[in-house]
Symmetry: C2
Subunit: 585 residues, 2 copies
């Protein structure tokens, strides 16, 4: 038995007890004949104390030797602390050191183990095992654990069965790139790692499992953007004999349950359900942050035909209203103009109009528009005196995107997006198909198994892009937390869908044959959802990056710098797998 208590549990009521603690030395202080040590473990910090004059010399020598991050075992009596520390749970007491054993020494770590580390990102990743000792990372992992346990509690209570689907599956050319795994036993053949367990969960519904879930690793060999990982974790769910509303209710319930049990937040209202088209028109994107207004208004018909060639030549003109913006300086407006021109926003320029507090209007295009023109626009946009109207123009989708970026930037600047307030909503009625100009054909917006609205099926013949899907996304604070759909469970409808996606019968058979085959033996109506677990955790943690919620993340080149992976393998391994490095000409 190494210890009687951990470093986070001793309180006033333990005073007088002899205890043994173990942990890491956070800090050692030497002051006026007293030595104090802050001893740290996962559970907290306990202060140890020794008086130089009354402590045995060998013990003092040992204490002298120890430094930061040494692992020690200490025996002593719990005594009341002279000056209490109400910042830590054990702040009422300290341990009078009677015996001390150094279990492990430590070199000076490459960065100090404190909340605001002095290591950089690279160093933190290389020494991740030291980084995890820091509270922000430790607490992120503990939070992740709690969320996972609560998810399981909720879903188990709702009759969901956790079923592990295989990791070594089959490569499919659709969608993002697969990671593949050469098979030694079947030379020249490969497994693929799953991008999601989609087909398996549908098979489990055909298998009659009724309600399935899994918190599961998925893999995508994509060029990594800032906050993507080649391996990530999904909360993957599927239900039988359900319509869209049943699924939304169950997972709205789960989200509320998590907010309550993990964050102590009670959400007493129904999540708004916003059609995709409304989200795009009003927020310029399909994952709106609805914690603040500043919604987009289409002012095309109000500004066209007034000889302003920029507006007359474009598809779409839209604006947002910035409360109090009339006070913005030239410099501030210039900054916004620069912002909208960066490639990620993509606008050509910014038109503004101040609605001054005296009721006058002052715009950057006064040559073309009168005050009464602006009055009409202001009324349409519900602008008030003191506000400023900001307008972008261009191709519609691109311009809505620009307005969305501008809106979010202003929201951030104005403090309208606080970390401790949460606004979940459902986006519904996604389009089923997207036209891809490059390939000249339609792609499934969600995936090829997503069911169309029954009343829209006839549009396959005429306006396929108008078909709405029984698909939905859960969005919180402008972040897509998850998405799903009701699946097609009818063979003929699935065939029609494949046809419209440009699959030949042979292609469909080769790629999805086993699923199509399964549909022949009694498929129940079913649907599901997948939530990004890493993202959900970072959302609950109030942090933008998912990295700290992953114990051992990879960097932007897909590399684990701690273990130095990926790495070369031996020629013998390559031979066994029947592989040669290099490219066929």
């Amino acid at each position: 038995m190494y210890r009687t208590h951990n470093c986070g549990e001793l309180r006033k009521e333990h005073i007088g007890q002899k205890v043994t603690l173990c942990g890491w030395v956070q800090l050692k202080r030497d002051k006026g004949g007293m030595i104090w040590i802050d001893l740290r473990d996962r559970y907290g910090i306990t202060q140890l104390a020794a008086e130089q004059t009354t402590t045995a010399p060998e013990l003092v020598k040992k204490i002298d030797k120890i430094g930061r991050e040494f692992v020690i075992q200490v025996e002593g009596e719990v005594i009341e602390r002279y000056s209490k520390n109400d910042k830590i749970s054990t702040g009422d007491i300290e341990i009078k050191i009677e015996n001390l054993k150094i279990l492990s020494e430590s070199e000076i770590p490459p960065f100090t183990i404190i909340d605001n580390t002095d290591g950089g990102d690279e160093l933190r990743m290389k020494y991740r095992y030291l980084d995890i000792r820091r509270n922000p990372v430790k607490n992120a992992l503990l939070l992740r654990h709690s969320i996972a346990q609560e998810i399981r509690k909720y879903l188990d209570a709702q009759n969901f069965v956790e079923i592990e689907t295989p990791v070594l599956i089959k490569s499919t050319p659709e969608g993002a790139r697969d990671f593949v795994v050469p098979s030694r036993m079947n030379p020249g053949e490969f497994y693929a790692l799953p991008q999601s367990p989609q087909t398996f969960k549908q098979l489990l519904m055909i298998a009659g499992m009724d309600r399935y879930f899994q918190i599961v690793k998925c893999f995508r060999d994509e060029d990594l953007r800032a906050d993507r990982q080649p391996e990530f974790t999904q909360i993957d769910c599927e239900m039988s004999f359900v319509e869209q509303n049943d699924i939304l209710e169950i997972f709205e319930g789960m989200t509320k349950f998590l907010f309550k049990t993990v964050k102590g937040l009670e959400i007493n209202y129904d999540f708004p359900r916003m059609p995709y088209s409304e989200a795009m028109e009003k927020y310029g994107n399909d994952k709106p942050d609805i914690r603040f207004g500043m919604t987009i208004t289409d002012v095309s018909e109000n500004v066209k035909g007034k000889n302003f060639v920029v507006f007359d030549s474009v598809d779409y003109i839209g604006g947002i209203c910035l409360n109090g913006g009339a006070e913005y300086s030239r410099k501030q407006i210039d900054e916004l103009t620069e912002f909208v021109k960066i490639p990620q926003v993509g606008a050509k320029g910014l038109v503004y109009c101040k609605y001054n507090s005296d009721g006058t209007f002052k715009s950057s295009v006064d040559k073309f528009y009168s005050e009464s023109d602006w009055a009409i626009i202001a009324e349409k946009m519900n602008a008030q005196k003191g506000d400023m109207i900001l307008i972008l123009a261009g191709e519609k989708e691109r311009t809505l995107h620009g307005l969305s970026e501008l809106r979010l930037r202003l929201g951030n600047e104005l403090g309208l997006r606080p970390r401790d307030s949460f606004a979940p909503l459902w986006i519904i009625e996604f389009p089923l198909l997207e036209f891809d100009a490059e390939s000249g054909r339609y792609h499934a917006k969600h995936h090829p198994f997503t069911a169309p609205f029954d009343e829209d099926i006839s549009l396959f013949e005429t306006e396929p892009e108008k078909i709405r899907a029984k698909a939905y996304d859960l969005v919180i604070n402008g972040v897509e937390i998850g998405g799903g759909s009701i699946r097609i469970f009818d063979k003929e409808l699935q065939a029609l869908m494949f046809k419209n996606l440009g699959f030949t019968k042979e292609d469909a058979e080769a790629q999805f044959g086993f699923l199509m085959n399964a549909f022949k033996y009694g498929a129940p109506p079913h649907g599901g959802i997948a939530l990004g677990f890493d993202r959900l955790c970072s959302m609950f943690g109030g942090v933008d990056s998912i990295r700290d919620f992953i114990a051992f993340p990879k960097n932007n080149s897909g590399r684990d710098v701690m273990i130095d992976s990926p790495s070369k393998i031996s020629q013998a391994q390559l031979n066994e797998l029947g592989l040669i490095l290099g490219e066929t000409e």
Copy 2:
């Protein structure tokens, strides 16, 4: 809303209610103007009934159309059943069909969905989604779910944190073969899939996480034996500031908790702890089934030197005592003799001696041994009148193995190994090292991080094979459920261990450098265990094979015959990965 209830929940108290059910048609019977349908879902079976004369003709027509495995939705009134069926939970009631909708038709399935299927193994695997509809497989998956939830409950309550370790890691040449994953972003380099999260869990201890667990997929590219899978699931755990006894207590507690919550079995005693050497001497293997006796006795000194050259020329002679065996016929004994000669048992022959009920002895080697010789052996083996002594001779290890196989076969034959009785125990004091004649060096019996007994460390110089390890296995009913060890946490001892395993400093650095490096910054004493989750589930399910406890298992060639994986990938994929198929000469 597709249904008001599931097929397992209607009872007497629902009589008179209008309900809607969905499910699969298990069976349709037509008898004397009545039609009955057994409707099945995951939750149970509910009987539907329609009287041909009083039911609307269109409805009768629809009912006529449906066959086995059709998915239907039925509305009707819950009525009391004329002849009750106490074999199913809904046996008191039936539904008077008022409306019926065919949701999905079904072709005639390749095998009937009943408990004793008529498909073969190949067909079951190909149509696994139909196989899972069968109760034995469905219940196996439900049991697995329950066990997983209970494990998490227990470990969470014990302060274990569930942490996901990476799946894309680094290949290490030690041990079994890794599956590797070519990295597109780092051409010529590979990730490996983990055989276990061993190093990561140790790093988590160095990171101060104190108690870690994970129910996690692991991978091993081995030539598959009957009951091995290339991907399998481990309950992986690690704890800091513990000694062996702490770990045994926690996981003995977990095992008892699972027996109680999952099987309703209370185990009120401490699990026996048997040294490895005792298990080998008494049971001939390191995972003894202690539900029955028939233990092995070394009779070498009693039978040598009596001119029987077979015994005189060998290393070891051991016997077991078969109660009531004196009644065995010539034919039965011949069968046993054949059995011990098969390669998996490996003996040259079987010597027997009947201890007849009249007190006389009759052996197969009467030429060499007198009745008084046998009387001494019988006393040593605690044989009684009516028993039979069975003796094998040869090289010690091989002979003990043969005796173990013989013992287990007799145990099975005599019904001494019932599926519903459980005898867990710990095997402790494993040897740290094993000498490998082929490579002429020692291998780690457990793994290179396992700590030796403190008092045995000096034996590294003299008799390394006698060093005992702080390693332990959990064994139930002759099956190894899991194993683990206390780890080395001292840099010098680890270096000594590597040296004895024949690692150069460079090898050790290349393979385990990041772990060795981590040990420099304050490693706590730690240890852990990993339990085979698939095996644990099949043990609880009272089934030998793990296959039915895995939703989508692979066959003995590592192939998923349902999705036909592994499979070829495109030339474009190979090019992107910088790979050519073929072997370097």
